[in-house]
Symmetry: C2
Subunit: 117 residues, 2 copies
Amino acid sequence: MTRETAAAPTSPTSTHRAAPEHVHPRDVPLETALAALSDSVRLTLVRELAASEDWERTCGSFDVPVRKAALSHHFAVLRSAGLIEQRDQGAKRINRLRKQEFDEHFPGLLDLVLRQR
Amino acid sequence: MTRETAAAPTSPTSTHRAAPEHVHPRDVPLETALAALSDSVRLTLVRELAASEDWERTCGSFDVPVRKAALSHHFAVLRSAGLIEQRDQGAKRINRLRKQEFDEHFPGLLDLVLRQR
DNA sequence: CTACGTGTTCGCCTCACGTCGAACATCTTT
DNA sequence: AAAGATGTTCGACGTGAGGCGAACACGTAG
């Protein structure tokens, strides 16, 4: 399913690839949301993401002082907190800040985090 | 200093007692504030405190599933996060939620926490 | 003075978290 | 096909957080 009808190779949305498990902000306990945002590396990720056009960035495009393994882990945490959504595009993984949905369930939190400092 | 002029034994604000070190919300990093609130026990403390008249309660008056030692630790965390202020009154220690000051520096955060669930 | 109540501090234990390198899987480029 | 780029997963490691009981300190009640 989600099959391209015509030959429009717009987005090579990957094929044999483990789709990341997403959690909707609705199902995220407040503690989890707060914990996800209480780490400076993740805070940076969220902020850079928010500062980007359409809130999108590939995993490797962030300016954080940790290696790939740790980065990957942080993204998993953000996913579990309903803060980001990940979509594969070829070899790259695109991260999107779920601003609207997150705001609906934790009004003001993201704005606070983005405004602060 | 802070000497009662007349004989008005209103508040026995203690004498030889280690005054708890307080941190003003102004000097609290966002990460610290979020981390302090990302624990369910502390969340309970803050909520019960907020639900109390004048936001005050003695340490032992909270309904949390931990022993004295752990409780004491949690209060220290809340203090370091600028969330509470502690004042000694005789043998008891009174906790006050620093709503206003905290709100000034982390607008919306406490309200979110108090509203949620 | 002695006994009790209220909290804090001190070890100690356990578990979760953040980090890394190495190996692996996928997709892209050549 | 071979090499490179992009991420994830797997152990391992160090650190810190949260929990407890015991001991201590201070104030209160008898």
